[in-house]
Symmetry: C2
Subunit: 228 residues, 2 copies
Amino acid sequence: MPPLILGTGTVGRTLAAAFSALGHEVVLGTRDPGATAGRTSPEPMGGTPFREWQAEHGGIGLETFAEAAGRSALVVNATNGAASLAALAAAGEARLATKILVDVSNPLDFSQGMPPVLNPVNTDSLAERIQRAFPDARVVKTLNTMNAGIMVDPGRLADGDHSVFVSGDDPAAKETVTGLLRALGHRDIIDLGDITTARGAEMVLPLWLRLFGALGTPDFNFKIVRGG
Amino acid sequence: MPPLILGTGTVGRTLAAAFSALGHEVVLGTRDPGATAGRTSPEPMGGTPFREWQAEHGGIGLETFAEAAGRSALVVNATNGAASLAALAAAGEARLATKILVDVSNPLDFSQGMPPVLNPVNTDSLAERIQRAFPDARVVKTLNTMNAGIMVDPGRLADGDHSVFVSGDDPAAKETVTGLLRALGHRDIIDLGDITTARGAEMVLPLWLRLFGALGTPDFNFKIVRGG
């Protein structure tokens, strides 16, 4: 069964194209496939209109969240963090049960202006909220600490000499996700521990956003430098 | 005038010894010098009793916060984040006015158990609280994202090939602090911007704590890997 990418924004599209290039059958999930496919205007962040993007990626289908979730063994949540729980609810709890649910989103709250704040924070995380809402899914948090281009092509930066984190309660699910990360080219994959460790991975976003501002480019990543 | 290190814990002592080794006259500030100097039992975290440490570092004096602040041009806040505002108030607002105030602390709140949470968070930071409480001081946030041993000897880790951040509103103060960081051996010093960017540097602590757990050592640091 193909992995499914939830979310048709930059992150979802970038991951979909990369998994497709690796030979996986991929399908994008969206609330209203007709509306998404019919969009001819550029995306809010200046991205290619969906129809153009899809024409360039002929093998990637577009279905409702529920249809797409029903026939995938692995689901990637690449929706906007503020919309993730609703999107996953639309996919359906029963269809997500037992599946690996890779959460790459960030709970950024833009309602108070720029820069966005993180919500939840400290004693909870979006990954934990998803795990609680879908207790039979096997949530693995990863990839949320870097730009989409680096997620799928880590070698473009310092020959891939930087780090990615995984958090989750299910060791087998983390192993599968680690394999996917390796296939994308990630070499330093750090298992932070259970799903509560996603708090740390999510709370790095404010620093990421400030670095984006200071460096003037999103083309950077964290490397955890160790001794010895 | 010598730099002053506020705080006699591991971070304060480590920084004091390093600045002393670089030839600076250093004095430690504490609430009650007699009580601190009289301690013969090990510190809570297993550190050397203060008296033994001081005997090994004969040139480093111990004074009240107020005395020490009065004769230093640069003050380093290396107190426990929860006690920083009180310690700086004891130093005295007038004595801190116009001085460079280097804040290396983290606002960790252990009152809800382990791991600690960060307070404040998101729309405020300890560095900003300090700047607001002492508006005539020139606060520079730095070094809080790494272990004390790496703060003063970055070369022990990957020949110093990792990053340190500075945040602050006063360019000249940041330049002076950048010079001190270079003297300690730091090579990749990233100016995040104004004092509000300290929110990002502080919010990385939960990830730091989880990495400490996952790696089993505090001997690591963040490197910001950039493209080409």
